[in-house]
Subunit: 335 residues, 2 copies
DNA sequence: ACAAGAGAGTAATACGTATTAGTACGGTCG
DNA sequence: CGACCGTACTAATACGTATTACTCTCTTGT
């Protein structure tokens, strides 16, 4: 009771397997067939419930309509807010294009698991950090891939779809400057992901343009003492700019420290966030910008599809999406 | 610059492709090989950077460590709270077992797309409703599958992992009875999914046991007029029991109607929900029960894996997980 | 000296489909 | 009547790996 193969259809219809393949495969090679035979084959295929084996067609280096999705962190963390909208976008666009998705679960990250991605026609990669050499290998082999999030590694050879953190971060700092702030503290992730570097570039550029005094602190969020914050305020700092990533570590740490120090926002200090904290239930909306996650997912799928099927749109392998500002209520005007 | 094949290694090492396969494949067949040859092959493979082609291995032996996931509604709806924890559980367990996931996007639901699931070793199905005849076809072909959610169709032949809605719903009604309620209105989804039937069974059973007067309303949530609710209260109803599913339609409709009617909860009427509404931000915690979604996902993957690989645990093709009660604050005691 | 057996490896084949080259048949033209 | 052509199809093969059956060469025992 195994699955139905072309050979079974051939036997029923009284033709050869090759004929079945020609009829069912759309006859790309231009083989001449009588209409009668064609119909007989189609009828038999229908009756037996034939389904092509995607694996063997892929073996012949044909297309599979399978797109890979490789996440370097769990795609479904316990906090739903991070990757979720990205995945939603990926799913929606993949469905629209008639592609299925293979999710490669990297949690059990044997490094060689990444090669399994080749089962698909192409693969998306998702994660703040990415194993560059493995990607280089795939790229060299001509395997279509797209990273979600800007990637500067490998001299920009990595196709990606990212958010324009530089512009968005600069805009946030500009808002602070226009509100009269002169002395700003900037808190960022300790590690050097491209997305963090982009934000820093935007922040520094805008601060320089506006003549702000800017000091930078790298923190993982756990090492922020209330006393430190008090020290900054005593020092004349009137606004904090805080990076926000998937983990929310820095932002959560900052919020905790602010509360512990008894500092009120935006009464005692203004707060701007480079991103969009999850939840939104507790307290006032924090000023910052939206990360267009859903759009990122969709754009990444479209780009990957175009790489898989060359000639269909999207010739540019990089794309940066704008981040709409979130006005929020945590930036106060100072004299 | 094509990829390296076993044949290339064979040429370099001066052996046959078969020998390479034996060395690299772990020699399951017990072919005798000298240590020297083995090392030569390994060295050549290392030097050339060999990577096995997952496609052709799958072509041989139908095991490929791929589990399908077929959702009959988008897996990532705009409201994150529904399927999300289930997917989180699925991903976590799949990763733990070293399996990858194929997500079949059913949104473009041509009915024959379901056959594509056979690309995987087995498949999970997720959704309140399920195309029974298609599943029957897969089952008849001996294809391993597991539904997430209890399925009574096909005389119980469909393997599934579900939540024990009967017991949990009965417990909720029991709580109302112990709080002194005698007259209860029960609002449920209009369609006949097994999960709805289970809840109804639990509710009716508990109501009968406790001697409650129970009336049932089927509604999709949009057709609940405030006047209707007022009528029930005038009629002596002191508690509402409301079904809660992925869409939240009935519960949201009820909440809207209650607010519109100016009815306070639990002051004017007690409210119990058969499930766990999303969010949790607004208002008091509603009394009901938790759906163990994450555990459902994990259990489903384990069961599917055991069906794919017979002999490894989980001999029973059905499993019901308990739903922990949520005390909440919306059940008042009445004289 | 010859059969039996072990050791080392390979040829052949299977998996399911797509493609290429070719065969068989009938008809037409010169 | 044979060369030639068009039609309708099939045989063979390729894709990359895993497995089975087989060959060939030594040892060893009697």
């Amino acid at each position: 009771m195994g699955r139905v193969r072309q050979a079974d259809i051939a036997r029923v219809a009284g033709v050869s397997q090759a004929t079945v393949s020609v009829v069912l495969g759309g006859n790309r090679a231009g083989v001449r067939l009588s209409e009668r035979t064609r119909l007989r084959v189609l009828e038999a295929a229908e009756r037996l419930g034939y389904v092509p084996d995607p694996v063997s067609s892929r073996l012949m280096s044909a297309r599979n309509n399978l797109l890979g999705l490789y996440t370097f962190t769990p795609a479904f963390p316990d906090i739903a807010d991070g990757c979720y909208p990205i995945l939603a976008g990926v799913e929606a666009e993949a469905a629209a294009l008639g592609k299925d998705l293979i999710m490669f679960t990297a949690s059990s990250a044997a490094p060689d698991r990444i090669r399994r991605t080749r089962l698909a026609d192409g693969c998306l990669f998702l994660g703040r950090h990415v194993p560059v050499d493995a990607l280089a290998g795939l790229l060299d082999a001509g395997f279509p891939l797209v990273c979600i999030g800007r990637r500067t590694e490998l001299d920009g050879r990595i196709p990606h779809v990212g958010a324009d953190y530089v512009t968005a971060s600069a805009e946030v700092v500009g808002r602070l400057a226009r509100a009269g702030h002169r002395r700003v503290r900037y808190l960022r992730e300790p590690d050097d992901a491209p997305s963090s570097g982009d934000r820093e570039r935007g922040v520094r550029g805008a601060a320089a343009d506006a003549g702000l005094s800017l000091a930078v602190t790298r923190t993982d969020g756990t090492d922020l003492a209330p006393a430190t914050i008090a020290g900054w305020l005593a020092d004349g700092v009137t606004a904090l700019v805080v990076e926000e990533t998937d983990t929310s570590a820095v932002f959560e740490g900052t919020r905790r420290a602010l509360r512990a120090a008894g500092v009120s926002v935006p009464g005692d200090v203004s707060l701007a966030v480079l991103g969009r904290p999850p939840g939104g239930t507790a307290g006032p909306v924090v000023s910052g910008f939206e990360v267009p996650r859903r759009a990122l997912g969709r754009a990444a799928v479209r780009l990957l599809a175009s790489l898989v099927e060359p000639g269909t749109g999207e010739p540019v392998p990089h794309r940066l999406l704008p981040c709409p500002p979130v006005a929020g209520e945590t930036i106060a005007t100072v004299a």
